[in-house]
């Protein structure tokens, strides 16, 4: 069975680090699922099928974690012994918070725009750019990962979560608009 003591990076045979080769990750994900997935064991005895399901579940989880820059940051911090409740923390960077407040207001106003979808899209691409820039900053922190840098990484992660929440709310607003069309 898959060695559960291996961390997600080792599972995919990738170096532990924030910068990740996504193509290679996707390729190895497929290679692994090809040998472990329950469909490979459709005719196998129950015990093998259970093992295969556990293995495939773990590979899926590892892949989803490493693929997503925010979950990857969380995971890396936990590998560095910081099992923080970052989810429940919030940044104290007032400039950042002010900016967020403005973006929120724009999102709320988007629903009344002549083309609300376009307005939401514009906001979301702005948010995506901000996330990309934070991803760059995050990568720097993990290069040598000193305690100070890990503390900074934690702060960057708090901001990323903020932006992600925004993206989520933008999706919800779009879904709401879709429904009102029907």
């Amino acid at each position: 069975m898959l060695d559960f003591s291996k961390n997600y990076f080792e599972l995919f045979g990738l170096p532990v680090g924030y910068i990740i080769d996504v193509d290679k990750l996707a390729e190895r994900f497929r290679e692994l699922q090809r040998v472990v997935h329950p469909d490979r064991y459709a005719n196998a005895p129950d015990h093998e099928r259970r093992l295969s399901m556990q293995g495939a579940t773990r590979i899926n989880e590892a892949y989803q974690t490493l693929k997503d820059p925010i979950r990857r940051a969380h995971y890396l911090l936990s590998l560095h012994g910081i099992d923080s409740d970052v989810e429940k923390e919030t940044t104290r960077d007032t400039d950042f918070l002010m900016e967020q407040l403005e973006l929120r207001e724009q999102l709320e106003a988007a629903r009344h725009q002549p083309d609300p979808y376009a307005a939401i899209n514009a906001l979301v691409s702005d948010i995506n750019q901000r996330i990309t820039s934070l991803v760059g900053q995050m990568a720097l922190q993990f290069e040598s990962a000193t305690p100070e840098q890990l503390e900074d990484a934690r702060e960057i992660l708090r901001k990323m979560q903020f932006l992600q929440k925004f993206r989520h709310d933008a999706d919800a607003l779009e879904a709401e608009l879709d429904e009102s069309l029907q």
């Binding site: 898959l2 045979g13 497929r30 459709a42 293995g55 899926n60």
Partner: protein
């Protein structure tokens, strides 16, 4: 005289045992069965050369009719003739009522949450009705392939929820079929297309059937079909097109809403015929027999028809937009759109969908057969006929899964469009001092309020030691298997008190109800049950033996030392000694003993294949 054995160059001369397997498209309006014969997946016709089997079941005083015969009687015997049962499966009586008030059945108040329809042959549940259709298809496949099926892949709409999937699996069990996999219909269609053309990239599958709509976005890469997102509406389809046309006819012909069942059936039939005619023609004449025996005549033009159905088609674009968003893609990133389901023959559907995805829809494979063909390809692989096949399907769960928290809110545990199989855990705590039990309410859906989501199951975790509020740590784990079926487990961490359920949906049949139906059904009289159980164990034993022999031949020398090998072979010999016997319990025990004896070997094999997969890649990386 010995016959000469011919073999293809490069193929093994060892007689390869071909296992019989089939793909079944259990549709709302029509069903099909397909199988791989001489390397090609084909749908199997009945003795009269017809491939489609109308999904219609009629109960009569002396038997059950399925298919054309039943459909022909739908207008004259509406109460005993069940059409579009797929719309009812896995649903509660209340939900069915909200689907449309014009269902011409008499529902029995059975006290059970599973609806039952009163017929001359007694009350039947949608699961039993579906099982009749499956039996008819399996019979057809058995006759056409010359043997009993070892396994089937049954397709379901991607958007089917847990209750509907579970009910479909129950129907298969009732029909005596072994389900290799429940496969999402759009994924099956992609398989049918994807293997013919080596088209790598992102595809959209637009599947508008008789009663359900599905959209799937998937990426095909080196034989792996990875579903990125899926969405849809499990109560929208071609039947609704018929309904709006029928309503238009009622208005035009001055037919009252309380017309009798036979009248309603005639209306639906004429509406459907008009819809089909308008695929080619610009207008079509309608002649309808009224209740008083006179006729109404009218004309429906394509323009008028388009006006009637356009709102319904537009309704499908919302889920398309959402699926793209979930996949993180724009319409321009979709390489092509595959059209599936009879309703995609409607020209306006092709036009609007093509416009939305900005590409000409693909319609090369018969949209009625494409799903069954894909299912057959997958069944052939899963049953073990193609050990070297590289194809793999990675599906997602279509709807978010969560549990009820304080204030009637839903806390999501597994969000929609997560690749399956998946397991996620979340911790909860008690909110009162000394609380010793916790109710767990499992829900499916995207909305925040419990009342807006589908209730899947409720259970209770008892025996929590009394602690102050907030001190208990209750871990709730959701796991979804490769068929998309959910299992929930709750456990108090500090004491290990545990409760788990396989989610038998609030609207599903219990195991004992199914056992009861199996016992009651005429084909499974009492001693039949015993024979059947024995047969099942014998087949299972054979499968286990073959799997192990294959494994030993492949890598037994490499992975086992002499003592280990001897140990495995002894257990194998013990099973072989009883496998052909008539003691089902004994066979079962020996199977379990063998599995236990081989546990370490199985793990070693899986590890070896994982290592191999990884090392193969690393070598390539050095090049």
């Amino acid at each position: 005289m010995a016959l000469l054995q011919l073999s293809e160059p490069g193929q093994s001369t060892a007689p390869h045992q071909h296992r019989l397997a089939a793909g079944i498209d259990l549709g709302t309006t029509n069903s099909l069965v397909a199988s791989v014969r001489s390397g090609r997946a084909v749908t199997l016709p009945d003795s009269e050369g017809r491939h489609l089997l109308p999904s219609v079941v009629r109960y009569t005083g002396d038997g059950v009719q399925v298919g054309y015969e039943a459909r022909a009687a739908a207008a004259t015997d509406p109460l005993n003739t069940i059409v579009s049962v797929k719309r009812l499966i896995g649903r509660s009586v209340d939900e069915i009522k909200s689907l449309g008030s014009r269902l011409p059945y008499r529902f029995v108040d059975s006290g059970s949450s599973v609806p039952r329809i009163q017929t001359v042959a007694g009350a039947v549940s949608p699961v039993e009705v579906s099982a009749e259709i499956l039996k008819a298809l399996a019979r057809r496949a058995g006759e056409s392939l010359g043997g009993e099926l070892e396994g089937v892949v049954i397709t379901v709409p991607a958007y089917f929820d847990d209750a509907q999937r579970q009910a479909t699996k129950d129907a298969a069990r009732l029909a005596g079929l072994r389900v290799l996999r429940l496969l999402n219909e759009p994924t099956a269609a992609a398989v049918a297309y994807g293997l013919d053309s080596e088209s790598e990239g992102v595809h959209a599958i637009y599947d508008l059937g008789g009663g359900t709509f599905d959209i799937s976005i998937l990426r095909l890469n080196k034989g792996v079909f990875e579903v990125l997102a899926t969405g849809g509406d499990s109560a929208l389809g071609g039947d609704d097109f018929d309904r709006v046309v029928a309503e238009w006819m009622m208005q035009q012909a001055g037919i009252r809403d309380d017309a009798d069942h036979a009248m309603l059936r005639r209306l639906m039939r004429e509406a459907c015929a008009a819809k089909e005619a308008l695929t080619e023609a610009a207008s079509t004449g309608i002649r309808l027999e009224l209740e008083d025996g006179t006729h109404w005549q009218g004309t429906l033009t394509r323009e008028q028809f388009d006006r009637l159905v356009e709102p319904l088609i537009r309704k499908t674009l919302g889920p398309c937009r959402r699926a793209l968003r979930d996949a993180g893609l724009g319409p321009e990133e979709i390489r092509d759109v595959v059209m599936v389901g009879g309703s995609t023959r409607v020209p306006l559907v092709r036009e609007l969908v093509g416009g939305f995805f900005r590409t000409e829809p693909l319609v090369e494979i018969d949209p009625d057969r494409v799903v069954a063909i894909g299912a057959a390809i997958q069944a052939d692989i899963l049953v073990g006929n193609k050990p070297d096949e590289e194809m793999l399907l990675l599906d997602v769960n279509p709807l978010s899964l969560g549990i009820e928290t304080m204030g009637g809110l839903v806390e999501k545990i597994i969000p929609r469009n997560t690749t399956i199989p998946v397991a996620r855990a979340q911790e909860f705590t008690t909110f009162k001092d000394g609380q010793t039990a916790m109710a767990i309410h499992v829900l499916q859906g995207e909305r925040e309020l419990v009342s807006d989501c589908r209730s899947l199951a409720r259970f209770e975790l008892r025996g929590i030691p009394p602690m102050v509020a907030g001190a208990a740590r209750i871990q709730v784990t959701f796991s979804v298997d490769a068929d998309g079926l959910l299992n929930v487990e709750a456990r108090e961490e500090s004491t290990g008190v545990k409760a788990s359920i396989e989610v038998k949906p609030s609207y599903g049949l219990s195991d004992s109800e199914i056992e009861g139906m199996l016992r009651d059904s005429i084909d499974h009289a009492a001693d039949d049950m015993v024979a059947r159980r024995l047969r099942e164990q014998q087949v299972e034993a054979q499968r286990v033996i073959e799997a192990l022999q294959g494994a030993l031949a492949e890598d037994g020398d490499r992975l086992l030392d002499a003592a280990e090998r001897q140990q495995v072979e002894q257990a194998l010999a013990r099973l072989q000694a009883v496998a052909g016997g008539d003691d089902a319990d004994r066979i079962k025990r020996e199977i379990e003993a063998l599995e236990k004896a081989c546990e370490f070997y199985v793990e070693r094999r899986m590890n070896a294949s994982v290592r191999e997969a990884m090392s193969g890649r690393s070598v390539e990386d050095f090049e």
